[in-house]
Structure formats: C-alpha cells, structure tokens
C-alpha cells in the first residue's frame, strides 16, 4: 500500500477566522502567510525524507484552508526539493481551467519531476466554480469534456481541432509530450456515476475522498464492475482514497487533538455568497453515488456522523493502522492521500501527528500487499 501526504498550505491564524466563503482578503496577514508556506514546505520535505510515496497538491480558492490556488505552481516549486516521492496534482478543478493549459502544465511537470507526476481530475464545488464565474449547472458536462480533451491533448501525436460543447480549439498540439508514456498515472476523483464510468472506460484510476469505508467500498466495487464491462481489471494501484487523519500517542490524545484542531469550519451561511452557493449546491449534488456530500468550501468531512468517527483515521498508531487496513481490505484501496492538517492545527501539532505516523504506521502500511 502507498501513502501520500496531502500537502496543504494552511493559513492558521492565531484567532479563529469567520466561517463562510469567501473570506475577506483583509483578514490575511502576510507574516502568517509567509510562515504557512514555510511550514508547508517543511511538512512535505519531512514526508519525503520519511518515505511517503506521494506528495499531493490540490486547488482551492478564496479561503484559508489551502492557500495554494494553483496546484501546478506548488508542484513546480517543490519539484527539486522532493527527492523520492511522486508529485500528485489532486487535482486541477477542471471546469475552472482551460483544458489545453492543464495538459501543457501536466506535461511540463512530468519533466520537472523527472517522470514522477501523478495526475488527478476533479469537478469541484459550487463556490469554487464562482471563482471563475462558471455556471454550476454546466460543470458536470465541462468536467467530462475537459477530461477527454486533456487526455487527447497529452496523447495525440498530430495537431488536431476540437469541437466540443464547452470548448473549441481549432489547433491543439501540446509540447512537451509527457515523459511517462503514454500517460502519467491518472485518477478521476469522483463519486458520480458518469465520471466513474469515464475512468473505467479510459482505463484510469478512481479516487474517493473522505467517505466511510462502506460507501467507499460501494463506489469502488461499482467502478470495478464498470472496468470489467470495459474489458479490464483494475489493480489496487488504480484505487485512491483521500482521508483525514489525526495520530496521537494514545487514542485519547488523538481524540483530544481532533477536538482542539479539527473543529468544523464548514461553509455555513454567514455571507450572502455562501448562502447562494450552499442553496444551489445542495440542489445540484443529488446524483453522486453512495457517499455523503461534503460541504462546499471545504473538503474535510462534513460531520462526524458522515464518517462514523470525527475523521477518517483517528487514534494511536495501532488504531490508525487498523482503520487504514480496513480500507485496504474492504475497498481494495492501494494509495491513501492523508490530510494531517486540521483547520486550526498549528504546525508543531501537525508535525507531531505526521512523525508518529511516519515512524509507526507508514512502514506497516507499505508492507500491506494487494488483495487484487
């Protein structure tokens, strides 16, 4: 089994920030901001040194949870610092990005990382859509088309034109071609049937975020059966799970950490913009498979009830290992992308949880072999 560090550039303010979206830029303190980037770098260098298999970056906007709106810039910035781990873009929010530009960035990053790039595709949430004024009712269609176009742009050897529903390009001819041929390992992060079908039909991996073990198994089993329908069988390397984690010396210490650092900072309805996207979001997200919906503006679990415990993995190293193994055994998950950073978690506490994990859980996890 493989472990990935979800490397967030978390802005941790000394005083609680208001909930809602967007957060006013006036509340951003550049000194804290600078420190948060330095802390973020330390985390990912440590994880690389300790043997994590991947370091991942995501795209988020207008909030303190992950102040790194462009995952490709983050990956490029650390490509030389990270010596061993693969660098995973999990993920570009596709409806917000020009698909040809995404293809170009991914291809470049594959070289900058010496062929260590992992690619993820994501649809995103209603509030993120508004960063670039994208109509949320179009994002499903935009995502599907964008994935198809990016794959073509990365693999098609001759210049071509594209007449889509949402995108039109009369000339596409991406340089460089990816170093990893034909493609870097690529995942669709989704619980929607359409996107899972896309992953299955294009022989791509599937990523599920933050769901309880049972609904994760349900989604992954459905994906597996779709893969068989398309004439192939995925291995555990095709199954990715993104999870929240809090490790302590004891279960009690970990639970105390959750109470202190992971207090729920969901979108809420504290601003007009948040109310608007929250209302529309709950209408639009009806068709995702199985797993409970995450909250707009934040990709941590919405509530303890949603996952059966406050985070996906909480406890002592032994407890956490058992919980991870459950996803491996029950769902066939081959890689877990861990979010150690709670919304109110200062750097020292993150490093402690991370170190405990790296020393006492990671080696055991990496010994778990495929059930596929």
């Amino acid at each position: 089994m493989k472990a990935s560090l979800y490397a967030r550039m978390q802005y941790v303010a000394p005083q609680p920030l208001p909930s809602g979206w967007p957060i006013a830029p006036a509340l951003y303190d550049s000194k804290i901001g600078m420190q948060s980037f330095q802390d973020g770098m330390e985390k990912l260098e440590f994880a690389d040194h300790m043997g994590f298999d991947w370091i991942s970056f995501s795209e988020h906007h207008y909030s303190y949870n992950s102040v790194a709106p462009h995952p490709a810039i983050m990956a490029a910035a650390v490509a030389d610092r990270i010596k061993q781990a693969r660098l995973a873009i999990l993920a570009h929010i596709l409806p917000l990005n020009n698909p040809v530009r995404v293809a170009e960035e991914l291809a470049m990053l594959d070289y900058l990382t010496g062929g260590r790039l992992v690619v993820g595709f994501l649809r995103g949430t209603v509030n993120e859509d508004q960063t670039f004024s994208v109509n949320p009712t179009e994002t499903r269609g935009r995502s599907l088309e964008s994935m198809e176009l990016i794959l073509k742009a990365l693999t098609e050897p001759q210049p071509f034109g594209w007449e889509g529903r949402f995108y039109q390009f009369r000339t596409v001819a991406v340089w460089p071609r990816p170093l990893q041929q034909p493609l870097p390992p690529t995942y669709v992060l989704t619980r929607s049937p359409e996107s899972a079908e896309f992953a299955a039909s294009h022989h791509l991996g599937l990523g599920v975020s933050f769901a309880p073990v049972q609904s994760t198994a349900e989604v992954m089993n459905h994906y597996r059966s779709m893969c068989v329908d398309h004439g192939w069988e995925p291995t555990e390397d095709h199954l990715l799970f993104r999870a929240t984690i809090m490790v302590g010396e004891t279960d009690e210490e970990a639970q105390e950490g959750v109470r202190r650092y992971w207090s729920s900072r969901i979108l809420g309805d504290s601003t007009p913009a948040a109310r608007a996207v929250s209302t529309l979001g709950s209408r639009l997200r009806g068709s995702a498979m199985a797993a409970p919906q995450r909250q707009n503006g934040d990709d941590t679990p919405g509530s303890p009830e949603a996952v059966g415990r406050p985070l996906n993995f909480v406890g002592s190293p032994d407890t956490v290992f058992r919980q991870i193994k459950e996803y491996h055994d029950e769902c066939g998950v081959g890689t877990v992308d861990f979010l150690f950073q709670g919304p109110a978690m200062e750097h020292k506490a993150v490093m402690k949880s991370l170190e405990l994990f790296a020393k006492e859980v990671l080696p055991r996890m990496q010994e778990l072999t495929s059930r596929c």
């Binding site: 088309e145 198809e148 176009l149 073509k152 098609e156 050897p157 001759q158 210049p159 071509f160 034109g161 594209w162 007449e163 889509g164 529903r165 995108y167 009369r170 000339t171």
Partner: protein, 270 residues
C-alpha cells in the same frame, strides 16, 4: 424538378442527371459557392447539415447510383469508377469547381474524385471517413436493431428512425461490397500524399465504426489537411452534433485554412 425530402427544414428541389447510362438523382438548395455532397452507406438523407450549409452555399447532394430508389448499379466496377461518374455528374450540372463533402463511404468516393479530377475540387471535407482503416480491419456487422448503437455515441438521444427497406439495403450493401473490395483501399492510402487540395477531416470522438485515431493518418500524409474531432459524437456526426459539424465545415468553406484563427467576439458588455 419535384419537391425532395422534407427531413430538412429547407425546401430542397430534386433533379436528375444522366451519366454513363446511369440516372443520378440530386437535391439542391441555396445560393452561393457550390458545395457537392456525397453520402455514406445509409444513402442520401437530408438533415440539419444540409440546411445549415444551404443558408450560405448552393448545396447539391447527390444520391449515388445504386442507392435509394435508383436501380441496382452494376456499371461501377470500383470506387474509382464511381468517383469518375460523380465527377461527370457534377460537370453536367455546369459545375467547374466546388467544395466536395464526402461522408463515411462517400469520403472514399470524394478522395478518389479529388485525386482523379483535382481541378474540380476546390476544397475537400471528409466526415467520418473510411478511406484509411486500421490493419486487419473489418467493417463491424450488427443486427438491424443494433445499428443505432453502432452509429451513435448516445443512441438513446436519437429519435427512432423508420426501418430501412430491406430490399434497398441489400442492393446498396451488394454494391458497396462489390466495389469496395477488401475493406482497406491501400492504393488510395498510398496516394493520400498526392492530394494537394485543402482538406478538412472530421471524426466524432466516439466513432465505433472507424477508430477516430485514423484522423491523424490523413493529417500526417496529406500536405494540406486539418483534422478536427467532434466531441461526444459517434460515426453519424451529422445527426449527433449537427451544429458543431456544420459550424466547423462552414468556417472551413468560408475561410479555408485560416479557419483556425478565432473570430469569436469575446466581449461580454460593450
């Protein structure tokens, strides 16, 4: 001339020309530069593409001899023969130079036409062409009730069609199989590099009859070729994404190779 099919909104008029003892039907609408259209194995079916093109061009869509209501065509011995016949048919209509659009099987005829009479073909458009096929390719054969599944990316979205007359289908298939010979036309493939005509090749990304990746072969071998993918369309591109196809073709016919330069107005408010 009588009234032709009403499947398109535009009123097409119908006429006939005689070539090599064959009586060839065509339908015509619109004014402007001439556009000659050659259909696929399904025969001449007027659709939105014809409508759209007829708004700006003089569109002449032929029913190739041996298709539709015409008698069995035993005169054409090869696709090359048929291409020559169609070139003469266009000449009989007084056309010296025109844009030529071939769909599927019609693209083979169109390519041979462009090779044999390059002076007549000003621009060439090949939609879901079958002129280049993979090695060891065989044309998929499916039961009649599975045809929609083969032709469309989303058969569930396509209105049910009246079943084709089995006698007609048998007649047309016999002709296609006889003159097309083995599925690949290696002579034609070898000559692609000789086609100097500015060419647009269009494939649906979900074409299940011919792999859309074949489009790159035209792009590689033909010196003046553009390859365009129409997203989420099957082999029957004109039925599934009519606007995407007609806009692309119209831009190409209007602007020739400069159709790749965007003219879209990006302003939201003045």
């Amino acid at each position: 001339m009588g009234q032709a099919e009403q499947r398109a909104d535009t009123a097409f008029t119908e006429g006939h020309v005689e070539v090599d003892g064959l009586r060839i039907r065509y339908v015509e609408a619109g004014q402007g530069s001439p556009v000659v259209m050659l259909h696929g194995v399904g025969g001449l079916i007027l659709a939105k593409l014809h409508d759209e093109l007829a708004k700006k061009y003089r569109v002449m869509a032929f029913e190739m001899p041996g298709f539709g209501q015409s008698p069995a065509n035993t005169a054409s011995q090869s696709v090359k023969d048929l291409a020559q016949t169609m070139a003469q048919a266009a000449t009989q209509l007084g056309l010296n130079s025109y844009a030529l659009i071939g769909t599927s099987f019609g693209s083979r005829v169109a390519l041979w036409h462009a090779l044999q009479s390059p002076q007549q073909v000003d621009l060439l458009v090949l939609v879901a062409p079958t002129a280049v096929l993979p090695e060891r390719y065989t044309m998929p054969v499916v039961a009649p009730d599975q045809i929609a599944k083969l032709l469309f990316a989303h058969p569930e979205n396509v209105p049910a069609q009246l079943p084709a007359d089995p006698a007609n289908v048998a007649k047309e298939m016999a002709l296609v199989q006889r003159i097309q010979g083995a599925s690949r036309d290696t002579e034609l493939e070898d000559k692609l590099g000789q086609v100097q005509t500015q060419t647009l090749v269009v494939f649906g990304t979900a074409d299940k009859v011919v792999p859309p990746a074949m489009g790159r072969t035209y792009r590689e071998r033909m010196p003046n070729c553009h390859f365009v993918m129409v997203y989420d369309a099957g082999h029957a591109v004109a039925t599934e994404r009519p606007e995407a196809l007609s806009n692309t073709i119209a831009d190409f016919l209007d602007l020739r190779e400069t159709f790749i330069v965007s003219r879209r107005d990006g302003r939201i408010n003045p």
